[in-house]
């Protein structure tokens, strides 16, 4: 292979070359930079990337470390000291992080090089990356379609081979859904498994940082790096972190996997449904036992999610007041006007919509009817999963009811956009872990292949088992080897 082909590699493959000194971390970055310059003008995944700063890190990289010399792309809401952290919002334009998130320190401790700030829906609010105030990100499989969201820049970069691995965040599906729509692997850790210190908060009781990668093995490697207790995040769990690669390669004999009967709903694209059912058969042929399970409160998950997540967001985003950082309105005459105009000028439409909804459900007279009731139904949903996981070790479903949709198709109807989160929201409500990995393709009317994602959900802190099942499935299929066919701007 030539150096120009390097970006097509996954982390495990690149790591082997780096360790054998076939290629240096600096050469890797150079090859990646060239491909980004050739490809990203069509995709729009990167907001910025700083080759000089990364090269300085690469010169000191220790390739004997688990992620030595591997560039990792970072969603633009995780702080890396000295780099921008805008959450793709106008209100944080020009913001420079004064410190690094715990996950960044952990990645660096394992030798990785944070490289690039990835586009996203503003403050991670959205399912298509169309809510970015900065730029459009296109799906590499069909440039007229969305990459999913909110971690759409991270997902599209992997699909287009302009990143080796990336970090995203998942509050209601924002890692798993873009992974599904972009044909890659996205992992949402259990709540509390990964420190949120240094992550700009959207909905604090839901947010988790997790990896987006080309393969399940790569995902497990990144989780090995970022998982673990952090005294700077009081919600991080003080639980033993196993080696997530240890179970890879083991078969599925005796493992029970549940098929939630409530997930067999109308409105799922028939091609998605048949791909997922074929995957279920495949899991069975690998030795897993498939049983039907029930999650009786499934139908309420989206309502609960959008009440609680917007409530938390409205409180978290109160910190954007134009005083300590971020945009500040000019020529104001009162304090009220200072706040109201700063925020009106800084936030985009979806963020405003969610602040209004969240403020409303917390406001006097409506708190009990919406917020408190939603918290109670959240508990019932959590209990549904506890009961299901007494019978099975994993649940299987589609990640998204359909493949990637067209840019602009759902932007005028927020409710339709929210309803597409039907399979992902509940995992965040219950705090459990989950993965999305490729399980087939639909075809668009113009003959483009559109990836379909398989979701596997696991009990809280049982990440290792999910990686084992996902890896066994992945290795028995060729879906993860497919790459989109599009022409770079220049070779």
């Amino acid at each position: 292979m030539t150096k120009l082909d390097l970006p097509a590699l996954n982390i495990v493959e690149l790591r082997n070359l780096l360790r054998q000194r076939e290629v240096s971390p600096g050469e890797t970055l150079q090859a990646l930079e060239e491909r980004i310059n050739a490809v990203d003008p069509k995709i729009g995944a990167y907001l910025v990337h700083d080759l000089a700063a990364a090269t300085a890190e690469a010169e000191k990289a220790d390739v004997t470390l688990p992620l030595g010399g591997i560039p990792i792309a970072i969603k633009d809401l995780i702080n890396v000291e000295g780099q921008q952290c805008t959450c793709a919002s106008k209100i944080l334009r020009g913001y420079r992080a004064p410190y690094s998130a715990t996950v960044i320190e952990k990645l660096r401790a394992q030798g990785a090089i944070p490289f690039g700030r990835m586009n996203m829906d503003e403050f991670a609010m959205g399912s298509s990356t169309e809510n970015s105030s900065a730029q459009v990100t296109r799906n590499p499989w069909d440039l007229s379609r969305v990459p999913g969201g909110s971690s759409g820049g991270s997902a599209a970069a992997l699909a287009a081979d302009i990143a080796f691995g990336a970090l995203g965040t998942d509050t209601g599906g924002s890692i798993r859904q873009p992974a599904a729509l972009s044909g890659i692997v996205g992992f949402k850790p259990s709540y509390g498994r990964v420190s949120r210190f240094g992550l700009v908060a959207f909905a604090s009781s839901f947010d988790q940082i997790g990896p987006l990668t080309k393969t399940v093995h790569d995902s497990a490697l990144l989780m090995n790096a970022i998982a673990g207790h952090d005294s700077r995040d009081s919600t991080s769990l003080n639980a033993l972190v196993p080696d997530y690669t240890a179970n890879l390669g083991r078969d599925l004999k005796g493992i029970r996997i549940g098929l939630p009967k409530e997930y067999m709903i109308e409105g799922v694209d028939p091609v998605v449904k048949s791909a997922v059912m074929a995957a279920v058969k495949q899991l069975e042929s690998l030795g897993a036992e498939i049983v039907e399970v029930s999650l009786p409160h499934t139908d309420y998950a989206i309502s609960v999610y959008y009440i609680l997540a917007t409530a938390e967001a409205s409180a978290n985003l109160a910190r954007f007041d134009g005083v300590r950082y971020g945009h500040r309105a000019e020529k104001v005459s009162t304090l009220f006007e200072h706040y109201a105009r700063t925020r009106a000028e800084g936030f985009g439409a979806e963020v405003k919509r969610r602040i209004i909804l969240g403020t409303y459900v917390l406001s006097s007279g409506y708190y009990d009817a919406y917020y408190l009731r939603a918290q109670k139904v959240r508990e019932l949903i959590r209990q549904d999963f506890v009961r299901a996981f007494e019978k099975v070790e994993a649940l299987v479903s589609p990640t998204s009811p359909g493949p990637a949709f067209k840019l602009g198709e759902k932007t005028t109807d927020p409710l339709q956009m929210y309803l597409a989160d039907v399979f992902t929201n509940a995992a965040n409500l219950a705090g459990i872990c989950g993965i999305s990995l490729p399980c087939g393709f639909a075809e668009s009317e113009n003959g483009k292949k559109l990836p379909i994602g398989l979701q596997l959900l696991g009990k809280a802190l049982n990440e290792a088992r999910i990686f084992q099942i996902a890896h066994a499935y992945e290795q028995s299929t060729d879906w993860h080897k497919a790459r989109p066919a599009f022409e770079p701007i220049a070779a």
């Binding site: 009781s205 989206i302 304090l335 109201a340 925020r343 405003k352 209004i356």
Partner: protein
């Protein structure tokens, strides 16, 4: 319930200036969302404890030790307006 949403009033609570068009649009869009969420009224939540978190969590304590953190200069590095090592705020008291 949905019809009670007054976007203009809530926008005041949220310290967010909306245009007349935004107010009208959000009134319709959020009205749809709240109408959809009315199905929560079907659920029997009697005796169910409200979950503030997905994982049962209780008070988390640590030793009250001083540690190094930002200098004033670092804390002010992103301030839109500052003077004499302080943030400038809009006048609160006349």
């Amino acid at each position: 319930m949905a019809s009670e949403l007054d976007v203009a009033y809530v926008a005041q609570l949220a310290r967010l200036r909306l245009t007349a068009d935004e107010t009208k649009l959000f009134q319709k869009q959020l009205g749809d969302v709240l109408k959809y969420a009315e199905k929560l009224k079907e659920v029997n939540v009697e005796g169910v404890e409200a979950a503030a978190h997905a994982v049962p969590m209780f008070n988390v304590f640590r030793e009250d030790n001083a540690r190094d953190w930002f200098t004033a200069t670092e804390a002010l590095s992103n301030a839109p307006r500052k003077a004499n090592n302080l943030f400038i705020v809009t006048k609160v008291v006349e």
